[in-house]
Structures are given as C-alpha cells and as structure tokens.
Amino acid sequence: MSVLTGRRILVVEDEFLIASVLCDMLEDSGAVVLGPAATVAEAMQMLHDNPVDAALLDMNLNGQWSDPVAEDLQARRIPFVFTTGYGTNSRTEKFGVRTVSKPYSWEEIEQQLGLSMVEASLREK
C-alpha cells in the first residue's frame, strides 16, 4: 500500500499528455485524483470546491507563473510539490517547497509527494 492510497491529490499541469500520465500513475497508486487543472483559475476553483490532501503544481501554466495557487495552497496548509522545466529557481526558495524537475520519474514524484505529506503532518502535531 502506498502512502498515497486514498489521498486526494490535486494535479495542476497544462501539458495534457504529462497530466494524463501523472493522473494514471497516481490512480495506479490508489490516490484520488482531482483535476488535472490547466490554468491558475481552474486550480483555484478546484481548491475552493474540494477537500485536497496534497497537490502537484506546475510552476508555469501557459506562460503564467502559478504563484497564486501556491499561495492559496500554503494559506490552506495543503502540502504540495512544484514541478518545473526551469530547474531550481527563486520560487523554490520563495515558497520553501520540494521541487521536481521535468522530465521526472514516477519514483521521484511519489517520493517527494510522500515526503512533503509526512512533513506537513509532523508540523500539524
């Protein structure tokens, strides 16, 4: 059983193919997938409408930085992992969250997502 089993994971990714693979993988691991959301507005709406345990957030959505979503997630104390094609950058430091660089392996995603959820639950205690 994976650390993701039964967890509600929001996927924010504008590249359809990448998003669909990610969703498949998450479902294979027993997670409940929300999304994929391809825009900042869509992601915010989903966050507003649904309970979310963790999120995978693409740093850049069609040329727009996804900072508002990151801020909303932090305000709601929802752990998340940045995915990016830009490599480690200033946003990683700004939000202080784990970042995986594209193209990533499923193992990386599972590991980083799992770790950030564990860290979040430790902080809550």
Binding site: I18, D24, N60, T84, P103
Partner: protein, 500 residues
C-alpha cells in the same frame, strides 16, 4: 657751447646723449625686431655721421646675413652676405675701422664690390650677447673717414645696447614659443578628456567631485560652473546607494583602486547602470589627492545580457518540457508494460539526456566541468554511488562533448548494474580521466570484482551507441574491452585550446 663740444674720450656731447637716449627709449618701446633695427640704424647714422649703415646677424647655419640696412644695393648685399671678420661665438672682439678699403689686404673682388658701391671707409662693430658675437653693424662712408676714439666708444655702446635688445626679443620669442607650445598641449589634453566618449571625473581626498568631463556633466546635467553644488551620491538608486558608497569610501580611505557598478539617475531622471573604474591619484610628493575615475554606461549591455539569460531559460524550459512530453507519450504508449525493463531503459536514457541539459543550462551552455558531469550522471542511480571511484584533473567540456559523455557514462553504469561490477555487492568501478596532451582527453572506465565477463554475442544499442556514436560525437575513439576480470572502456576525444 658745452653741448657741442667734440670730446674724443667720452660720450659727452648733448646731441650724442640725446640720440642715445632716444635709441634707448625706442628699443624699450619696440614691439618687434624690425622696430629695434630701424631705431638702431637711426642712431648709428646720426651719431656716427654716416649716410649708409647695415645690421647683420648670424643665421642658424652660422652665416652672417643682412637683417636691416640703409642705402645699400641688392647686388652689394647679395655679394657680401656671409663676409665677416668674426665667427659665431667669438669672445668680445674689438671693432674694426677701415679708413680706405683700397689699403687693406682684402681680396680684390671684395674691394671691387665695395668701391663699386661708392664706399671708401667702413666700420665693423661686433654685436655680442653675453660676451659672444652674434652679428655686427656696419658703417659706410663715401670718402676717407678717420674714426676717432670717441666715435669708436659710441659705436661700441650702441652695439651693446643693440645686442642687449636683440637678446631680449629672442628670449621673449622663445618664451612665447614655449607658452604657445604649452597652450597647444594644454588644449589638446583638455580636448582629450573633455571630448572623450566616456565619463571622466576626479575627486578630492574627501570624495567630493572636483572635475567632470563633458560627457559626465551632460549625464548629470551639471553646469560648467555648477560643480560646487553637485553631489553624485544623491543620484544613486536607493537600493544601490549604501553598497556603492561603502565600496567607494573604502577605496578612498585605503587609497586603493575600485570597480563598482550601480544605477544612477541621469539628467532626465532615468536610471542608467554605470560601471565605475577608479584609482587613487597622488601629488609628486606622494600625498593622496583623491580619486580619478571613468564611468561607462553599461545599461544596454546589461539589458542584452538579461534578455539573453531569459531566452536561454525559456529555451531550456522548452527542451525539458519536450523531453517530459516524450516521456509521457512513451508511458502512455507502453501503458501495460510501464514497469518493464525496455521501458525503464528508455526512460533512464531520457532522464540522463535531461540531466545533461540541466547541467548545460546551469553553465549557460558554455563549459561543463567533467567532475560535476560525472557526479550528476552517476549519482542519479544512487545505491551504487559509493562504489564508483572518480578521479581526474579539473577539465571543462564543450556542450556537445558533455552530452555525449553523459549518455555514455549512463550506459556504462546501467550495464554495470545489470551485468557487471555493480550487479554484485563487492564490485567496484574506477572512472579516471586524464589529459595526455593538450589535444587529447582520455577517459577510462574500469570494472573490478564483478562476475566473470562474457563478451555479448550481439552488440546491443548501448554498446553501439558507445562504440560508434561516441566516436563520432567526440571526434575520437571509444573501445569496449570485455576482459574476463572486468569490463574496460577507453574513450579518447580530440580537444582543443578552447577546453579549459
């Protein structure tokens, strides 16, 4: 009448004194050498009672030349120029008075020229400067003229006055020439700093600006006489001000050169990035006088560099995004066999390609340190990291070399984990590189302690890529040696001076 007494021992007659006085006065007011000559001829003819006279001076070549005359023909002057009883520099010679040219031992042709001009008696009076002969004046008489001692003394007095004033005009002329040279050179230097296409400034020991050239005044809109009230520190961007002033202050207190960059508001209030290079300046006695510096407006270069960085970041992003899409397509295509070895191999190779791109983008596609590349590529499959020993001198790879070597190392590592030294607990790998010459890079991958090696019956893609692909990409040779005690891979690449 005392005034007209013809004394033979002194200059006591009133007329002579008057003439001498007038001469002194005239040369005092003289504005040019010609004025002096004219006054001299006037006093000579008046007091020595001759109707003809001339003044001659040695020219630069040491030849006696007529500079002023009264009543002499062109022919006479042409023929007798250069004729002199003295050489330049002769020490205070006495004057010579010839009562009749016909009675001298002069060559006949000279006698003929002189008598042809209707001259019987002549006087040669040396003109000296600081005791040395620089020329002479001549008196000419149409009839025999015995010259009395009084007249001789008068002639010498006139010659001395004349020599003195010529000396004075010469000194003035040379001072004038020196001044004009100085003015010219001053103007040239002023123009050089004023019109230089770079901002130039000088400060006093407290850092206050003492001098700005035109470009610098124009930048800040400082009037030519407005330097007193100008304070450059007030124009520095608030975010840069503390740093810039601290660096400049340190350079001033330590008398050290400094390079500092900052944003400054120009006369129209726009922020411009100036790079300042300044160094201390000193008086002859070594006393610190302040700083001298130049400012270069590098705003455009900076923005081009920033633009380039942004474009490069965007390009890297797209490359990596494309690789991610390729990965996604593969995962979708092989959905059922997602975790099968071939798909894993493919994804591994793709991952290394992406990693190599990461390193290259971090160094702006310029040069990648070999050590870092090896660490990044081999560190990816972390469980075996500690069993791969890397060793080699610092070396920078070009982008193409870096990509090829990254893929090669990944293949070797994957292979070692499947079949070679890294497939068993006690196996180790040694990765070494060295530079046998400035044109050659040699990389050695050697496995030890693994299961006995059997050469594959068939060359797989990995082997092919190593042997053929690498050779082509690196302009070198790659050889796999399936030695029974461990695989040995030797890669040789041609490099050039551009590799660091």
């Amino acid at each position: 009448m005392a005034g007209h007494e013809q004394s033979d021992t002194g200059l006591s007659t009133e007329d002579d004194l008057r003439a001498l006085y007038e001469f002194t006065d005239a040369i005092y007011h003289a504005r040019s050498a010609d004025d002096i000559y004219a006054s001299a001829l006037e006093v000579i003819t008046r007091t020595l009672h001759c109707d003809r006279a001339s003044i001659l001076l040695f020219d630069d070549a040491g030849i006696m030349q007529f500079v002023a005359w009264r009543g002499l023909s062109n022919e006479y002057r042409t023929k007798l120029a250069g004729h002199t009883p003295w050489k330049p520099g002769d020490q205070d010679p006495p004057p010579i008075f010839v009562e009749d040219i016909a009675e001298t031992a002069e060559p006949d042709w000279i006698k003929q020229v002189i008598s042809g001009e209707g001259i019987v008696s002549l006087g040669f009076v040396p003109i000296t400067l600081e005791g040395k002969v620089i020329g002479k004046f001549m008196t000419y008489y149409s009839s025999r003229k015995p010259v009395k001692a009084r007249s001789q003394a008068l002639a010498v007095t006139i010659a001395r006055q004349l020599g003195f004033s010529i000396g004075r005009t010469r000194a003035e002329a040379s001072r004038e020439a020196a001044l004009s040279h100085l003015r010219f050179s001053e103007a040239r230097f002023r123009q050089m700093t004023e019109e230089a296409p770079i901002m130039i400034w000088m400060s006093n020991p407290n850092g206050h600006c003492e001098q700005l050239n035109k470009l610098a005044r124009d930048f800040w809109g400082v009037a030519d006489d407005g330097l007193d009230k100008f304070d450059y520190s007030a124009t520095i961007h608030p975010e840069d001000s503390d740093r810039v002033l601290a660096q400049m202050g340190e350079a001033i207190t330590q008398n050290r050169p400094v390079t500092v960059r900052g944003r400054y508001a120009n006369v129209s209030g726009h922020w411009r990035i100036l790079q300042t290079e300044a160094r201390p300046r000193y008086a002859c006695d070594g006393q610190f006088l302040g700083m001298i510096g130049v400012n270069v407006d590098i705003t455009e270069q900076e923005s081009v560099a920033r633009q380039r960085e942004l474009m490069l970041a965007e390009l890297n992003h797209r490359v990596k995004n494309t690789l991610a899409v390729v990965q996604a397509i593969a995962l979708q295509t092989f959905k059922a066999d997602r975790r099968s070895p071939p798909v894993a191999t493919f994804l591994g190779r793709l991952g290394v390609l992406a990693k190599a791109h990461d390193i290259l983008s971090a160094v702006s596609w310029e040069a990648t340190p070999m050590q870092e590349l090896a660490r990044e590529v081999l560190g990816g499959l972390s469980p075996n990291k500690s069993r791969i020993d890397t060793d080699g001198p610092p070396f920078l790879l070009k982008p193409k070399q870096a990509l090829a070597i990254a893929l090669a190392l990944h293949e070797l590592q994957t292979n070692a984990m499947k079949y070679g030294a890294l497939s068993v607990d006690q196996g180790t790998v040694s990765l070494q590189w060295r530079l046998p010459s400035s044109q050659r890079l040699e990389i050695l991958w050697q496995e030890r302690g693994g299961p006995p090696v059997v050469a594959p019956s068939r060359r797989g893609f990995g082997t092919l890529m190593l042997e053929k692909g690498l050779s082509a990409e690196l302009n070198g040779v790659a050889k796999l040696d399936f030695k029974p005690d461990g695989l040995l891979c030797r890669i040789e690449a041609a490099i050039d001076g551009m590799n660091g």
